[in-house]
Amino acid sequence: MHEFRVTIGPASFRVLSDWAKPLRVMERLYAAYPRPEICDFTVRLEAPRPWRKWLRPSVRLDGDYMVADAAPLPLSHAVLGAEMAMNLQMALGWRRHVLLHASAVERDGRVLLMTGLSGSGKSTLAAMLGETGNWRFMGDEFALLDTQTGHIQPFPRMVSLKNEAIGVMEGIAAAHRFGPLLRDTPKGDIRHLIPPADAVETMGKGGPPALLLYPRFGYAAEVRPMGREENFIRLTQASTNYVALGEDAFGALTRLVKDTPTLAFDFNDGAEAMARVEALWAEVSA
């Protein structure tokens, strides 16, 4: 089997594959990331039957933590499969932090968190802010909440751009930072984007959360305060390991809710949303 290793934030992964090509793509996309000796998680890209390695090749995902009966992907989507499997290891297996389904960017040592459902725009907003030079990109999928300090630790994996977000970011980031365009995946069109260099160089450095937004793309621009009770309930739903971490997670999430200004943030235009994020950040920083 072919093998690829990578460290992303505090977590390290080993990807084993029946095919070399997907790992060559990952080697390029993760060229700036450290290569660990010992890995937290292993994932496998395997042919479901021996002949499926060559004949209409398809990829079955496997790993330390998996969901049962996941449908195989075509080999052309293998990099997406590896990313999905790595995410699953974090979602089901990570115990060192409260794992929040959220994007995060940092400025002046403090962190802006954005959480919401898939398609909410949290990933694209974080990626766009990370390209401005004013913000450090910390992650587009998972924010890691330290239960002792209350700080957010980065997990700056490749940005997973979906559908309209691909064109938006192709207009902002240099062409060599993109992975191949993956059409008609289970999540629509997908294209991976290598995070800015500073995001990778400083991925060991966290910071305290200063503002939490619940973005929602596709709605008339509006900002609304969110009550602590709704915020707490939604954060427990946004965490994949809240129950597993027990009282430590309870303490960390209630602290986050009590200490962090939180707003619902509807938007339908990226540039205008970034301007409003800047204004909101200026308010909480005043």
Binding site: F232, T236, K258
Partner: protein
Amino acid sequence: MAADKVVMAVQYSGARPDDVRLVDLGVITACYHRMSGQTHLLMEPSPEIMAHLWGRTLTLAEITAALATEFDMAAEADFPDTLAARLEELCAIGLVTTHA
């Protein structure tokens, strides 16, 4: 009448303060129950009921009397029924236990 006597005889014991961790989040109180590892979201008057039952055993009448000064709704005729319903819920999630 016999049934009424049985109901009146029921006593309620609350969790010990060390058993739970409560955090006031405004409209709700978040409650972490250490024995079960479960998080419960409590609304008034459940946190107040628990506060009166810390390490104590009281009847419904005694709880009603103790809370009467804290709530406007205590003047309403169905206040004991409201408390009984909340007590039943707290029993169901293990934060309160009953003794005949």
